[in-house]
Amino acid sequence: MTESNDNACPLSQREIIDTYFMENRSRILDVAAFLDRLERARVKDAEDDFRFRALREAMQALVGDSATRTKDIQMILSDPKTDLLDERDQQSADGAARE
């Protein structure tokens, strides 16, 4: 057992698992079912969709050993181009960058 640090969560690992395991068990099954559904799709016409690609990259970050997975995934799902657009292309955001 190791103790740590300034920005620690007040719960122990054991307590975190006891409290939050069930809801995250459910979430990971939802993601798995979503991916299976994409495999079973009537037509496979979006294998290269920018949102699907971003999710696949995010899942790689999820299984990595970074201590800042949330922030890393936020950046994967962000537009890497930070300049101002010349004109508004659409009113709403898509959740991932198109290119």
């Binding site: 969560c9 962000s78 991932a96």
Partner: protein, 268 residues
């Protein structure tokens, strides 16, 4: 526990929502001017809207013992139209004198365009001219990082702007560092899908501390929950945090930020 929701759009909520918020301990809230779900057709519509949020909503809230304050602007979603922006900016000063107006907001960027930036800078200029507090909206989803970066840089370029009189809202894990490093107040929006989930907001408190940090429901006509602030308090307790820390985030912090406007009366 008494709490303040610093970001709500009550024009699109029912009176029953006011009642339930009051029963759950809400003592004050603030309503930034925002988008109607479609681009408005003329400046006159904004005039009516500003009247609505400075007269009708404070009365509806008062019926349940809630103090209602508001912020005025043309929302970033409509900022692409500079002509409309100028027309609306021209009559905002006449509303700034009203007793429940705290400042200019929620201003910022949407798709992060050149004209949106021009509209944003014009709003900041108006706020500085009239010594107003500022409430900032940061863009959604993939636009949030670049939009927050552009907003923070623009505010730093204006030497009249004092960071402790500006709250930058809808912060998330990848934008909070730049907001706090520049000394601004941070807002976390507790939305079910698109912004900050309850437990991620608690993580942010644990990682960054509670100083200059507020949480809000941003409840409007979309998927959103008027009782998100007390739900956050519950998530904090579930995580083992005490009443003093929770009270600071849900009451003392928003009261301190709003209290910089002499019109804000700290409710019981």
């Amino acid at each position: 526990m008494n709490w303040i929701d610093p970001h709500v759009h009550m024009v699109s909520r029912t009176t029953t929502d006011y009642e339930q918020m009051a029963m759950a301990g809400c003592v004050a809230l603030s309503e930034p001017a925002f988008w109607a779900g479609y681009d408005r057709s003329s400046a006159a519509v904004f005039h009516d809207y500003f009247n609505h949020i400075t007269t009708f909503e404070p009365q509806r809230a008062a019926d349940y013992g809630i103090a209602h304050y508001c912020w005025l602007c043309l929302n970033p979603k409509e900022g692409e139209d500079m002509g409309l922006t100028r027309e609306v900016l021209a009559f905002i000063p006449e509303f700034l004198e009203r007793p429940t107006v705290l400042g200019i907001g929620e201003i910022g960027l949407n798709r992060v365009t050149k004209r949106e930036m021009e509209s944003f800078v014009a709003h900041v200029d108006l706020a500085m001219e009239h010594e107003q507090l500022i409430l900032i909206h940061t863009p959604h989803l993939e636009d949030k990082y670049k939009g927050t970066l552009q907003i923070v840089e623009a505010l730093k370029r204006d030497s009249r702007v004092t960071p402790d009189r500006v709250l930058i809202d809808h912060a998330e894990e990848h934008t909070i560092d730049m907001i706090r490093e520049a000394g601004f107040w941070t807002g976390l929006t507790l939305y079910p899908n698109t912004k900050m989930a309850m437990d991620r907001a608690v993580d942010i408190v644990e990682i960054y501390g509670s100083e200059r940090l507020c949480v809000n429901s941003a409840c409007d006509w979309g998927p959103s929950v008027p009782l998100a602030v007390p739900a956050f308090a519950m998530a904090m307790r579930r995580r083992g945090h005490g009443a003093e820390l929770i009270e600071q985030i849900v009451h003392a912090n928003p009261a301190a930020f709003f209290g910089q406007c002499p019109k804000f009366v700290i409710p019981g």
